[in-house]
């Protein structure tokens, strides 16, 4: 049985159970005072909006340079992918793999994964709820690691600062990339995982 079927609302913030009061739009948690909703309001629409914005910004994030290395009058621009290729050329494969996963695999996987979750909930796809929930948790957990490249740029810009001898300047690709990471993290937060279970019958076995 679901809590919602028993007329109970679970608080998002402190996980306290509250009896649902019929006829009132706004209800607050008796323990922590947080807003109560049976499901996050407009979860699907909001998640789609954030996801689509992130998908649009994903293009400049990968095409524009994220930083430019100036050394003795020569400038060399790096996009996310060329940074990875450079690491491979230096022979630093483990670090190249980490950067590749954090900056390219994870953002792409998140965009596709959240879209798939939304689609499966809206179309009542008979996908296994357990698989979808594992995917959701993985997306929620891994999202923050995409910030890696942004932090690397911050460190490099600060430390490689020798005037005309050598310096590193961040590019607009970094802004777009940071926006993609933040937007996909927000999309994962707005998505309500309980929607995955709402259109499956699997809860009968656990009463």
């Amino acid at each position: 049985m679901r809590a919602i079927d028993a007329g109970l609302l679970i608080c998002h913030e402190c996980h306290q159970l509250n009896p649902q009061q019929p006829g009132s739009d706004k209800q607050f948690c008796t323990r922590c005072g947080g807003h109560l909703h049976a499901r996050r309001p407009n979860s699907l629409v909001r998640t789609w909006a954030l996801l689509l914005t992130a998908a649009v910004l994903y293009i400049p994030a990968n095409l524009l340079p994220i930083m430019t290395v100036n050394s003795l009058g020569k400038g060399q621009s790096d996009t996310i992918m060329s940074g990875v290729i450079e690491l491979v050329n230096y022979g630093m494969l483990p670090i190249a793999a980490v950067v590749f996963i954090a900056s390219i695999v994870v953002p792409t996987f998140k965009l596709v994964g959240i879209a798939l979750l939304l689609y499966s909930v809206q179309r009542h796809q008979p996908m296994s709820a357990r698989q979808r929930v594992l995917m959701y948790r993985f997306i929620e957990w891994i999202g923050r690691w995409s910030m890696l490249d942004i932090f690397v740029i911050a460190i490099l810009v600060a430390v490689v600062n020798f005037g005309s001898l050598a310096s590193i300047v961040p590019g607009y690709g970094a802004t777009a990339f940071a926006s993609v990471v933040v937007l996909t993290m927000l999309a994962a937060l707005t998505f309500d995982p309980r929607l995955i279970w709402d259109n499956t019958d699997s809860d009968d076995h656990h009463e």
């Binding site: 402190c14 932090f151 993290m185």
Partner: protein, 219 residues
């Protein structure tokens, strides 16, 4: 964890005897958890709660340690770089300033929030919540601050920053003379203490202690 099949249906039990899974909304009979035991949702496997011993005292010690480490971790040099007699230093703070001064204000703000502001605010919230439990004052503010803490949780990214430091070191090590500073040691220590604190400070017990439902929840 569904509990013994007792005769009464779930909807007739009292609220105190029930618990619902935060991730899939499954309603359950509340299991009794002994110290150190972990309770999971039988349907989706989400961790419902873990019962830990001495939560408030241990968390307090860890919060104080983390707050002491915060300033050296963020303002002592993480690394120094020498190139043809010129030397530069990197701290978490100069990283933010460098981005800001090169025209990337929005990215600088994101880096500042994720690597400095949110980790500090999280620690301050946890400290205030623990103080409110220990001294039994300002419980309503404690509840509010603990709610704010839960919203900030995702956005503190110290471990990602550490990985960023490693990547930067690997990129620079062949190009110039690089030395590691004391700041890195403090940063790693801060990260470890903070992870330990998140594991120790079991939210379910803190909520119960804060709301006064169970005076000994934090013992």
């Amino acid at each position: 964890m569904a509990g013994p099949a007792l005769s009464e249906p779930l909807s007739e039990l009292e609220l105190k005897q029930l618990i619902a899974c935060h991730e899939c909304d499954l309603l359950l009979r509340k299991p009794d958890a002994a110290a150190g035991e972990r309770v999971e949702c039988p349907r989706c496997g989400y961790e419902l709660y873990t019962h830990r011993a001495q939560v408030v005292r241990r968390s307090m010690a860890l919060v104080l340690a983390a707050l002491l480490l915060y300033v050296p971790a963020n303002f002592l040099p993480i690394m120094q770089l020498n190139l043809l007699g010129q030397a530069t230093e990197d701290t978490v703070w100069t990283g933010v300033l460098g981005l800001y001064n090169s025209g990337m204000q929005s990215v600088a703000v994101v880096v500042f929030l994720c690597s400095m502001a949110v980790p500090l605010l999280k620690l301050l919230c946890q400290f205030a919540v623990l103080l409110s439990i220990c001294l039994d004052i300002g419980r309503s503010y404690g509840l509010l601050l603990y709610r704010i803490y839960h919203h900030m949780r995702e956005w503190g990214m110290l471990e990602v920053y550490l990985m960023g430091i490693l990547v930067a070191i690997v990129k620079l090590i062949d190009l110039a003379d690089l030395s590691i500073g004391l700041g890195l040691l403090c940063f790693v220590a801060l990260l470890l203490v903070q992870v330990w604190l998140e594991v120790t400070m079991s939210p379910h017990q803190i909520w119960e202690a804060l709301s006064g439902e169970d005076a000994h929840a934090g013992d």
